[in-house]
């Protein structure tokens, strides 16, 4: 009708994102047809259980449990089931059948992205996954296309809204970690099992994807160094505030040079200090943002909703429109970008700055002993602050800010501090990221 050809769109999964994608496809049919030059016909929605359909307003006849069959008749397959199987198998089948695939499945792309991209490239199909990282925020396309003529040097992302919400409460309202977790849980920011979020597994999957795209290489998810936020204390939050900083859980992808001269990539996730002057510091609540440093472009930031059904559906539809236009125009998809084949370097090769908090004996010579110990291990102090809390009986608190140091040297330093006779306890070691 209207002189447009039809493109057959299959939807796999109908959860909070899928139901919104279906709704938008149905409601905005005419407008999308005008933008694409073809009518996007939703031919079916595959679900596991017909009785568990989330959105009662979607036409019943669209639903099926036969995902395999649905995929075979489609020009474009939208996969929003989550998890690795059967999503992976269905996507491979769709690609073999010549369909373009749009997915928001971060676990799958983190684990099997290169395999799926290769399969798509072989048959000239398009695989896109804007919704897999940072929800509604356009970040995959800018990294792959807008910055295609530049060299990205580092990506710092706040890519998990739940943990950002928790840390933001601790910083802004003085909540304890437990209180902030409880509120986050009550507001639905946390899953029943919050481990994926608070231990940084979710952020690590996104770090894998960001690193792979930013550096045109393959970064396995198990090569991502990972620390969650469960160790973040109120004392650390206060020390951050004293240093005009804030603590954020960062997913970092960085091009670094190892001690032996190897140029490689580091992908890592940990809670880190960041200056309050840094744009990432203004990312509050459950919002996400990805800060990109590139040789020519300088500093860029992409900010928005990192989750939410309708928000994420916007990113999915952007990919669908792009795939549909490609179908109308003809020609293969954008080639995969994993051709640099860089080494993935371990955390020990990373250089950054640190803030170390120590409980030390409050007596003459302690500062000199500690300064000497840092110097022996190749770590240089940028600032030292000593406080003697009331009633601390011979114990003082030292907060040391370091210049840039290698992680391996820092680890050796912390080891030596723990063994030192003048140090009662190493109470906190936290990294400081960002140039600002």
């Amino acid at each position: 009708m209207n002189g447009y050809r039809d493109l057959r769109v299959a939807l796999l999964g109908c959860g909070s994102v899928g139901s919104q994608v279906a709704r938008l496809l149905l409601e905005q049919g005419d407008e999308l047809a005008a933008r694409v030059g073809a009518r996007l016909e939703l031919i079916g929605i595959a679900v596991r259980d017909l009785d568990a359909r989330r959105d009662a307003e979607l036409p019943r006849e669209l639903f099926t449990t036969d995902a395999e069959r649905l995929v075979l008749g489609a020009d474009i397959v939208i996969e929003l089931m989550g998890g690795v199987e059967p999503a992976r198998g269905l996507i491979l089948r769709a690609i073999e059948g010549g369909a373009d695939v749009v997915t928001g499945n971060k676990a799958l792309i983190a684990a099997h992205g290169p395999e799926l991209a290769d399969a798509a490239e072989q048959v000239g199909a398009q695989l896109s996954y804007e919704a897999a990282v940072a929800g509604a925020i356009p970040i995959i396309r800018p990294l792959r296309e807008s910055l295609a003529g530049d060299h990205i040097t580092r990506v710092l992302g706040i890519v998990n809204g739940s943990t950002n919400y928790i840390l933001d409460r601790m910083d802004r309202f003085g909540d304890s970690a437990e209180d902030a977790m409880r509120v986050a849980s009550e507001l639905g920011y946390l899953e029943a099992d919050p481990t994926l979020d608070v231990e940084g597994y979710d952020a690590a999957q996104k770090a894998t994807i960001l690193a792979s795209i930013a550096f045109h290489t393959v970064v396995p998810v198990d090569s991502v160094y990972r620390e969650g936020i469960t160790g973040v204390t109120s004392a650390q939050i206060e020390a951050a505030q004293s240093a005009n900083c804030v603590i954020k859980l960062l997913a970092i992808a960085e091009r670094i040079t190892a001690a032996d001269g190897t140029v490689g990539v580091s992908a890592r996730v940990y809670p880190a200090l960041i200056s309050r002057e840094h744009p990432l510091a203004a990312v509050h609540g459950g919002k996400n943002a990805v800060f990109v440093e590139a040789e020519a472009a300088g500093e860029l930031m992409f900010y928005g909703a990192g989750a939410g059904g309708v928000e994420t559906a916007s990113a999915v539809l952007g990919d669908v429109v792009s795939a549909a236009r490609r179908h109308v125009i003809g020609g293969p998809g954008v080639p995969g970008s994993s051709h640099a084949d860089l080494t993935v370097l371990p955390i020990g090769e990373v250089s950054t700055r640190y803030q170390i908090m120590l409980a030390v004996r409050d007596e003459p010579g302690v500062l000199a002993a500690i300064a000497g110990l840092l110097a022996e291990n190749g770590v240089s102090a940028a600032s030292v602050e000593q406080t003697v809390p009331e009633g601390s009986e011979g114990t003082a608190t030292l907060v040391i800010g370091t210049h840039t140091a290698r992680e391996a040297d820092l680890a050796a330093t912390v080891e030596a501090l723990r063994d030192s006779a003048v140090v009662t306890a190493v109470t906190s070691v936290i990294r400081l990221e960002g140039n600002a």
Copy 2:
């Protein structure tokens, strides 16, 4: 060589951006070839005067004054001359010859974007201009492609770095307008003739482009309502601070409904209050940012360098790589997006909030008189603050914050306030934007 075919790239203009584009094309030849699947051969650089070549490190033999001839032999033409002619004629000639065109020329795109886009669409060529708005920040591509399945409702942009620098100094360091202008000028933020920046003409060109893309329609640059920053006073900056706001020069593109029910587009530029909690408030110095509100995606922000030779060159090269990939793949360019044909509505149809500062006679009944006057004109006050400055001799200062009101009603209100016997002077009227 290396089995790649060659794509012939012509560069028109060799100023601060052009010379960086040429350098990057020459230095990164192998890497770009791997990303594109073709070698980008810089076949020439057209300049007006061979003796005025900016970058002495570029090979002399590349330079020519014969732009017309250079264009005819190119697969991709990069236009960075600025101004309307001869840039427009050369681009049309390039498109007729089947070349893809990349330009960073905001004046040209603002004035002739639809004409050039139509010409490109007719022959299946690609016209791209990421560098024309907000320098290095990827904003055109996200608006056109990532959000292609969404409905944008409003775009708020800080798109002129010079004026943001001046306003930021006034806010953060308490500079007078004159002092901030002088420092901006000394640091090279302002042209010899600063009118384009401080009167908002530059921002208005960008508002035209943003509105046209966001709403898939044609928004002529002379339909953009425009106020510059020359009227911004230290008193307004202070009043903004009291209201936990900051003043930013905003380029706004918005889908609005007129009093008669017509749905249309408003494009406008003016200094406005914005809450300090709003992400745009954290855009300091000469940085740019574009805040996008969309029905599904919610709030997004794109932040980065709005100017600078090498920064802007990054955006140009992103477009060049995209055009080159299209050449390799085949098929026509992304279709133009000006198909909605929305009415451009005048400023009188806009609804927003306002802060009004008045000098009034300090006597009983004044507040009631003014409240009545607002109500008569359909404007409702959200807050009123009265102060009696020392030695003001019978005069008080009133700061009124309004609820959302129509611009036409507000104008009538201000007129009535000026005529009122109890009002000594209307000292400031400024709009308040953003939902936060």
